[in-house]
């Protein structure tokens, strides 16, 4: 069972790096973990200190925050459980090993517990510390806080296990239907975008007004207090851990174990069913007649399929492309609100055109960061790299088509985003055209750099994406800094924007020239997987 547990951890966190790299990675992760908790404690302490004088505000905040984290962690548990219980390769690997279902399920539950505990400690324990510091709680309070994730595990994991089989059935159903999968992804991404815009609005309001108390008005606190009785299991847990009302303990344990028991029964049944009687995936349709295509059309169709029909890309790229206009509009509008308010107005007055530069910067960064989701032009081929090398089509043509599809899709999304910004009067027509031009140039340079990284893969080692990641942030920042400096020197805004563009073109010309002259040779040297 321990071996199975170690296997699951290795699958999750990978084991491909050298020992020294792994040690460095562990140290950095630990430092990040500690820094994150320290920042959280500071933030929670500030919030709790600000609202401590308002009656019931602390409890309202605790309830709200813990309830939101409970939902998020339950969703996280759900997807972790789905990955663990229904990974086809894992099921196939384990099917002929001398391990019982009990051992497999126990190891997976232990794994889920560790992940749940770590996540809860990271997001929820800082709240205990911040609250304890303000309320001068005894060390026992901090100690019992360490058991909070244990208490939440049974209910949150129980809910996740109840839903894991229906989720698996649903994803399997939609994965076989491309348009349905696209539609569901779109609805989810748009929903998340709206939630994001709502949270962003609250944040912007707090920053712009510099007034945390606006979130905790008496009216909103009354709302939170009213909501508290529905916020199971958080209301019980606050009673148990913060108010020390042990009367809530027994009903909480009964409900939690009940939900966990039901969830576990369903998960065990589903795991056994999928392991032993996995249903056939055959769809019997009559093949449609063959239509001759040109080589170019066939390659374009293949590339489009690799991007659009891959489930991983639907969320990380195609879905985001569709949501880009909405996301960009919300963020640009919010940032403009911040820049036009409070002390930041002073800096905006020092650098004429600052708001324009920031708007262009946002368009650039959104475009290039979303495009990162589809820049594995060759890695996405996996074993079929050999097909690319053996078909009688020039490498150059294949590479151009490979890069053109994400470029065209990203550019289309960019154009729509810019038009939305202009139509909603967030930016002027002139600024929209500038943003479009600079972002297209950046997109081109970024894609060429990504291609360079892809073509440099050797000896089966994973691609190093440090340069494309660096350039995706560096080039927009270089543009903005150049434009700001030129503006500070008194040049007109239009000239400063052209100046920023010129710098990007000069920096980008180097990798573009290298790739254009060496692409064929690099592609042949690329080590295909046998």
């Amino acid at each position: 069972m321990i071996n199975l547990l170690i296997k699951d951890f290795r699958l999750m966190f990978g084991n491909k790096q050298s020992l020294s790299k792994r040690i460095v990675s562990v140290i950095f992760s630990a430092l990040f973990f500690v820094a994150f908790i320290v920042v959280e404690i500071f933030l929670f302490r500030t919030i709790l200190k600000t609202i401590k004088d308002i009656k019931y505000a602390s409890t309202a905040f605790l309830t709200l925050f813990l309830f939101v984290t409970t939902i998020l962690i339950t969703i996280g548990n759900l997807f972790q459980a789905k990955r663990l219980f229904f990974d086809a390769k894992d099921i196939e690997q384990l099917s002929n090993r001398p391990v019982s279902n009990t051992q497999i399920i126990m190891s997976k539950l232990l794994y889920l517990f560790f992940i749940h505990y770590a996540t809860s400690i990271m997001f929820e324990y800082p709240l205990f510390v911040a609250y304890g510091l303000l309320a001068n709680k005894s060390p026992m309070f901090y100690y019992t806080g360490l058991f909070y994730p244990v208490a939440t595990f049974f209910f949150e994991m129980g809910v996740a296990l109840l839903l894991v089989y229906p989720l698996w059935l649903f994803t399997r159903f939609i994965k076989r239907r491309f348009w349905l999968e696209m539609a569901v992804s779109l609805v989810l991404i748009c929903g998340l975008t709206l939630v994001y815009s709502y949270v962003l609005d609250i944040f912007i309001k707090l920053v712009a007004d510099n007034d945390l108390l606006s979130l905790f008005s008496q009216e909103s606190i009354n709302g939170f207090i009213g909501f508290q009785k529905y916020a199971f299991p958080v209301n019980f847990l606050i009673d148990i851990f913060f108010n020390k009302h042990n009367s809530a303990l027994f009903p909480f344990l009964c409900i939690s174990f009940g939900v966990f028991g039901m969830g576990l029964s369903i998960a065990i049944f589903a795991f056994n069913y999928v392991r032993n009687f996995s249903a056939s995936t055959t769809i019997n349709k009559k093949p449609r007649p063959f239509k001759t295509k040109s080589v170019t059309s066939a390659l374009i169709k293949k590339e489009f399929g690799l991007i659009a029909k891959n489930s991983d890309y639907i969320f990380s790229y195609t879905g985001l492309l569709i949501a880009q206009p909405l996301l960009l509009y919300f963020v640009t509008k919010s940032i403009n609100t911040v820049l036009n308010s409070g002390t930041i107005q002073y800096f905006a007055a020092l650098v004429p055109g600052l708001i324009d530069y920031v708007d262009i910067l946002l368009v650039m960064m959104f475009t290039v960061i979303i495009n990162q989701g589809a820049n594995s032009y060759i890695t996405m081929e996996e074993r079929t790299i050999k097909n690319m090398k053996t078909i009688p089509v020039p490498f150059g043509k294949q590479l151009v088509i490979k890069v053109s599809i994400p470029f065209a899709l990203s550019s289309l999304s960019l154009i729509i985003s810019c038009v939305v910004l202009w139509a909603t009067k967030t930016v002027t027509l002139q600024l929209m055209l500038f943003a479009l031009l600079i972002s297209v140039v950046l997109l081109f340079v970024f894609q060429i750099i990504s291609l360079w990284e892809e073509l440099s893969i050797r000896h089966g080692k994973p691609r190093s994406s440090s340069m494309s990641s660096l350039f995706s942030y560096l080039l927009p920042v270089v543009y903005a800094v150049t434009a700001i400096l030129l503006s500070y020197k008194g040049l007109p805004t239009n000239v400063t924007i052209w100046g920023g563009l010129a710098v990007i073109v000069v920096i980008g010309a180097v990798p573009v020239t290298i790739v254009f002259t060496r692409a064929n040779s690099m592609f042949l040297s690329l080590e295909a997987i046998n």
């Binding site: 076989r176 995936t281 055959t282 769809i283 019997n284 349709k285 093949p287 007649p289 063959f290 239509k291 001759t292 295509k293 040109s294 080589v295 059309s297 066939a298 390659l299 169709k301 293949k302 399929g305 690799l306 029909k309 891959n310 074993r383 079929t384 050999k386 097909n387 090398k389 053996t390 078909i391 009688p392 089509v393 020039p394 040779s521 042949l524 040297s525 295909a528 997987i529 046998n530």
Partner: protein, 251 residues
Amino acid sequence: MSQVQNNQTNTPSVVIKDLHKSYGKKKVLKGLNLEVYPGELFGFIGKNGIGKSTTIDCVIGSKKYNSGTITLNGYNITTEPLLAKEQFGYVASEPSCYDVMTGYEYLEFIASIYRVSEGDFVRNMRYLCGRLKLDQRELNNRIANYSHGMKQKLCLAGSLLYNPAIWILDEPTVGLDIMAVEELKKMMREYANHGKTVFVTSHNIDLVSKLCDRVAIINDGKVAVLYDLNKEPNRRLHLSRAFMNIYGEDL
């Protein structure tokens, strides 16, 4: 089987001359020479890591080599790569088809790349699916859902869809069931009998010894021995021993 002798005077379809290939300082191929003729079923064998797949990768234009020449039906793979690549169909030891496509889409893709006409596509697809026991209804499913053997059969079908002059197979029997292996053996034999070239590597000495017309065993970056199994039928019975002797091992 007499076809090979007739073909000895023909122009070879695969010519490898003085092929050198290194990975860094490690020299894998050190002047390998080989000629394979139309109508011939040629076996290329050697122990693991000796350079069989590297040789094939150089032949199909998948890897650069340091020096030497490779021609396929007279076309140099380095200087005339597109014409050379039109001459062969290739099957790798691991199936290399696109998981996001359906089997039908994959075959359609291959047909479009090699400019197969609609009539030939339908005829060849039906024939190959029948021979390889590929259920045509299964072709509507995504390749990601196929078993390893199904994927390999699809790749085999894809490699013959455009009726190439040379059929190159690198360990083609890996993952295939016994019935599919027997069918594949028949297909290779028939393909060679139709005047095409079949160039196959395999670890399965039994398969090579029973099926091939000629066999080359590679050692130390060169062809160590080349047997004409039609002229020396006894070699078919003792190929395993010869194989072991070359690498200094006893049976």
